[in-house]
């Protein structure tokens, strides 16, 4: 068994959370609320050390007064906390939203639209690979047909949309299978922690 205080605290809190599987109880609620407070506090502390201190406080101390601009924008956004002052936060929101909207336009166009359309239009693979290539193109067009809601899904469009739904179902089935794998992996890791790092009964402990 581990003699490390930190490991014991981690193990006890882990068991508090797992107790929720039986039913909601005070131990779980304590752990849940502790998690919320500690996570928010940690995030604030990290952002202070990595953003506010070097980019605002230290710059102002060095006489780089341009740093007042982000400081003012930041303070304005705090106005959102109260109904009467919420309007002044619009300036900061406009600045932030404008920046990331501007970045999004060319990067999405280049990487997600043009590159993918170009790959969809490439020649089929040779031999039996042509069947798979044809299926990929068919699936791609039929899913696009499904997502086109400006025209009713009738006639040829309706048939294409139905085919698109089938391709989507296969894709979602694949995603579901992978999601199960992902969640189980997280559980395996917690079991390894409890049985290896805390109790010490696993091989390799």
């Amino acid at each position: 068994m581990s003699h490390d205080v930190g490991t014991w605290i981690a193990a006890i809190l882990t068991l508090c959370v797992f107790s929720f599987l039986y039913r909601d109880n005070p131990l779980y609620r304590f752990a849940e609320h502790l998690f919320v407070g500690a996570s928010a506090g940690y995030l604030l502390a990290v952002q202070y050390q990595n953003v506010l201190r070097p980019n605002v406080i230290e710059k102002l101390q060095r006489g780089q007064f341009l740093a007042i601009i982000p400081l003012v924008l930041g303070i304005l956004i705090l106005g959102r906390a109260w109904e009467r002052t919420s309007g002044i936060a619009r300036w900061s929101l406009a600045f932030y939203v404008g920046i990331y909207s501007g970045i999004a336009v060319p990067s999405y166009l280049q990487a997600q639209i043009f590159a993918q359309v170009a790959d969809a239009l490439k020649p089929f693979a040779p031999g039996w690979g042509a069947v798979s290539s044809a299926l990929v193109l068919l699936g791609f067009l039929s899913v696009l047909a499904y997502f086109f809601f400006s025209a009713p899904h009738k006639g040829v469009h309706g048939i294409a949309a139905r085919l698109g739904i089938w391709f989507l179902m296969v894709a979602f089935g694949a995603s579901f299978g992978y999601t199960v794998m992902a969640r189980v992996s997280l559980l395996i890791a917690r079991m390894q922690f409890l049985m290896r790092d805390w109790i010490g009964i696993l091989p390799g402990a």
Binding site: T14, L44, N55, G87, I99, I113, G139, G173, A174
Partner: protein, 205 residues
């Protein structure tokens, strides 16, 4: 008081789009400075979130509402970790670092690992082959869950190549169409925001 922020959105958005096409170092430096300012605004947005968290839990504690003790735990954790992190720093050797290793990390991991149990329970109760589409989804998910783990090869040697084919053909086709759809949506939304057509981010008039 919305015209000014709309102008700010337009100017920042168009500036960032233009900088994408200008490789000159002055343009790239400008982009770096603007993005640094955005990061400061984001930090203040986190502070805003923490203020909201504080206010909601403080109300419960002062009014001795049901569960007020748990709210007090949240408030103590939030204040304590933030204060320690600001004063001492957040690296592994500090008290906040040790709190992170013993409290935050195990709680986060365990909360997510609960999903393994719930996904199994939900799959048992809700995953039904009610129609063609649901059957497709179910069959694909089962093939993926068996084929992508070590035991799949023992059950049937064809499982691994079948899972690869499902990922490389129907999954690829559907996800490509989804990626293009998302890209088109993102670009159109970004342009609507920059041009002032979509003003929802500014809140109520």
């Amino acid at each position: 008081m919305r015209f000014g922020p709309l102008v700010v959105t337009f100017l920042t958005g168009t500036t960032l789009i233009a900088i994408f096409f200008i490789p000159h170092h002055a343009a790239q430096e400008t982009q770096s400075v603007i993005l640094e300012w955005a990061d400061v605004v984001y930090t203040f947005a986190l502070i805003l979130g923490s203020i909201a968290l504080w206010m909601s839990h403080q109300k419960k504690v002062f009014q001795r509402a049901e569960g007020w003790f748990y709210s007090a735990v949240t408030l103590v954790a939030l204040t304590g970790v933030t204060a320690l992190g600001v004063v001492q720093g957040v690296s592994g050797t500090t008290l906040v670092g040790q709190i992170y290793d013993s409290v935050n990390a195990p709680l986060a991991s365990t909360m997510f690992s609960l999903l393994a149990f719930f996904i199994a329970s939900a799959a048992f109760r809700a995953f039904r082959a009610r129609n063609v589409e649901a059957t497709l989804l179910l069959v694909t998910a089962i093939v993926m869950m068996i084929g992508r783990v070590s035991i799949g090869e023992f059950v049937w040697s064809g499982f691994p190549p079948l899972t690869e084919w499902l990922l490389d053909v129907p999954n690829l086709a559907a996800k490509r169409a989804v990626a293009i759809g998302v890209g088109l949506g993102a670009v159109s939304t970004a342009l609507k925001i920059i041009l002032g057509i979509d003003r929802s981010y500014l809140g109520r008039a």
